[in-house]
């Protein structure tokens, strides 16, 4: 049952991620990204952490993607058109080489590791918060929060400049 769910969610995540980059209409891309994030949330849930699964949906699929869609709609972004760009051919060949390299590396790693199901581990909310707020990670955690806050203040300051 769990395995079937995992494969379904994983397949959905991969397919929708391909749609995100293959789709010309940005609104469709955004909706496909929401599907990707939701299927990732299912995988987190299967790994025994409903808390992270819920956060994944609330923060990414909920808040952030609404913001993306809002901006896309506000600016009324139209579908990209097939404009042959200068040097497109060179760029494309570089991309092909890089993708081949990445695929080769991934294949090499996967070939040389034996896959085994993850050992049972405790991913409950209590355990997670104990780790996050332990002396080990507390300063990193708080520093990250302050970094995000600083970015927020910076964005507001930049946007205010013209007004």
């Amino acid at each position: 049952m769990d395995q079937a769910l995992f494969y379904a969610a994983a397949a959905l995540a991969v397919v929708s991620a391909l749609v995100v980059i293959g789709q010309k209409n940005p609104i469709y891309s955004a909706f496909a990204l929401i599907v990707t994030l939701c299927s990732l949330s299912v995988i987190f849930g299967l790994l025994g952490s409903p808390f992270i699964a819920a956060l994944q949906v609330i923060v990414y699929a909920g808040a952030i993607m609404v913001l993306f869609l809002f901006v896309l709609m506000l600016l009324n972004v139209k579908s990209e058109e097939d404009v042959p760009s200068r040097g497109g051919r060179t760029l494309a060949s570089i991309a092909v080489v890089l993708v081949a390299l990445l695929a080769g590396q991934a294949g090499f790693v996967l070939w040389n590791t034996t896959l085994a199901p993850a050992a049972a581990f405790d991913a409950s909310t209590r355990r997670m918060s104990a780790i996050l707020f332990s002396p080990h990670f507390l300063y990193v955690f708080e520093a990250t929060s302050i970094l995000i806050l600083a970015a927020l203040v910076g964005a507001v300051a930049l946007a205010k400049k013209d007004a």
């Binding site: 909706f31 819920a54 699929a61 808040a63 609404v66 913001l67 869609l69 809002f70």
Partner: protein, 360 residues
């Protein structure tokens, strides 16, 4: 009393599955019934508040009006604008209804009780603990929050797909409004979770037993206020109904919807409203507890208390609609970001200090 050998041998997992299916089959139609009743109640109550009579011609007191409305909508033509995005236009109402009913899955409808040991029930069900709650999960509250966060996409997709300027403006307003007020809504939960020490709605209700002064609407009054206002904004009820402000946007995001698709969108909105009231009852009004020491809240009485609280909150939503004018857009944003969120945040600090130092 003769369930047969195959039914007796049901595995526990299968039993759970059957129970869940039965609950879904009972709760979802019941909600649809309440939805259609609510449309009538809302129109009648609003009418009385405005010295009118409201729909009173169809059946006793006009009670059959929802059925008449349903039949009418069913036979209306389903229009789709020529420039609409076909698949998105079709998917939007479905998405709206799906998310609104998904959130219902973790809500407790009434107190837990024991099934009777007689009657037509198969043996494995007799005397079993039972509650009208489809799924009891550890992070119930977060699940609801996650699903409501997804609920906005039904509205956004509907407004965008119709390819109409009014729909589009409605969708824009609704997405901006929902993610602004979602923050306040989430912050208002936090103190309740702190006091109960659990994300489970059942635990939060249990933490409020013992008397009405232990209800969170009294111990956590600021949080309750923030929750109620933010919830009204989340479900786009007056005074927060800017996404469908009819005086400026025709009907907002659902301008181009007709017939049963329109009915689906209406159903999604009413079910969302029922969800936030049931949640408010559980989180802040003590759930099914009577609130008076000595008055039992088990069994049927619990359902009565619970139902009365939900009904009262639903009435308050209608009352607000009959009383308040609509916000102006800048007022809406100002109020959400500069009043509600700071109030909720400060209250979190106060409650955290209370829990840590004074043992609240």
């Amino acid at each position: 009393m003769n369930p047969g050998p195959t039914l007796q041998a049901l595995s526990p997992a299968l039993q759970e599955l059957i129970l869940a299916a039965v609950k879904v089959a009972l709760i979802i139609p019941a909600l649809q019934g309440v939805f259609s009743l609510m449309t009538w109640i809302e129109r009648r109550v609003l009418a009385f508040m405005q010295f009118r009579l409201g729909p009173n011609r169809t059946g006793p007191f006009g009670l059959l009006q929802p059925i008449a409305d349903g039949i009418k909508l069913f036979f209306k033509e389903e229009l789709m604008p020529a420039a609409a995005n076909k698949w998105a236009f079709l998917a939007a109402p479905v998405l709206a209804v799906t998310t609104s009913f998904l959130a219902v899955a973790v809500l407790p409808f009434g107190p837990p009780f024991k099934l009777p040991t007689w009657g037509f029930l198969p043996e494995w069900l007799q005397g079993r603990d039972f509650q009208f709650q489809i799924a009891t999960i550890d992070v119930g509250l977060l699940f609801i929050f996650a699903i409501t966060a997804l609920g906005v996409y039904g509205v956004v997709l509907a407004g965008w797909a119709a390819n109409n300027k009014y729909s589009m403006l409605g969708a824009l307003r609704s997405s901006a409004q929902m993610f602004s007020y979602e923050l306040a809504l989430g912050l208002s939960f936090v103190t309740v979770i702190m006091l109960a020490g659990s994300f489970q709605i059942g635990d939060i209700v249990a933490a409020q037993s013992g008397g009405f002064w232990r209800w969170n609407c009294i111990r956590q009054f600021p949080a309750f206020l923030v929750y109620f206002i933010a919830a009204a904004a989340e479900v786009a009820r007056t005074p927060f109904d800017l996404p469908e402000g009819e005086t400026e946007l025709v009907a907002g995001f659902h301008t181009e919807y007709s017939s049963m698709r329109f009915a689906l969108i209406q159903m999604a909105e009413y079910v969302n409203m029922i969800t936030v009231t049931v949640l408010a009852t559980s989180l802040f009004l003590g759930g099914w507890h009577s609130g008076i020491p000595g008055v039992p809240s088990e069994g049927l009485l619990g359902f009565v208390f619970w139902g009365a609280k939900v009904a009262f909150l639903l009435f308050v939503f209608i009352w607000l609609r009959g009383t308040l004018p609509r916000f102006r857009y800048d007022q809406l944003m100002h109020f959400g970001w500069k009043v509600l969120i700071p109030v909720a945040a400060v209250w979190i600090f106060i409650t955290a200090a209370g829990v840590a130092l004074a043992g609240w």
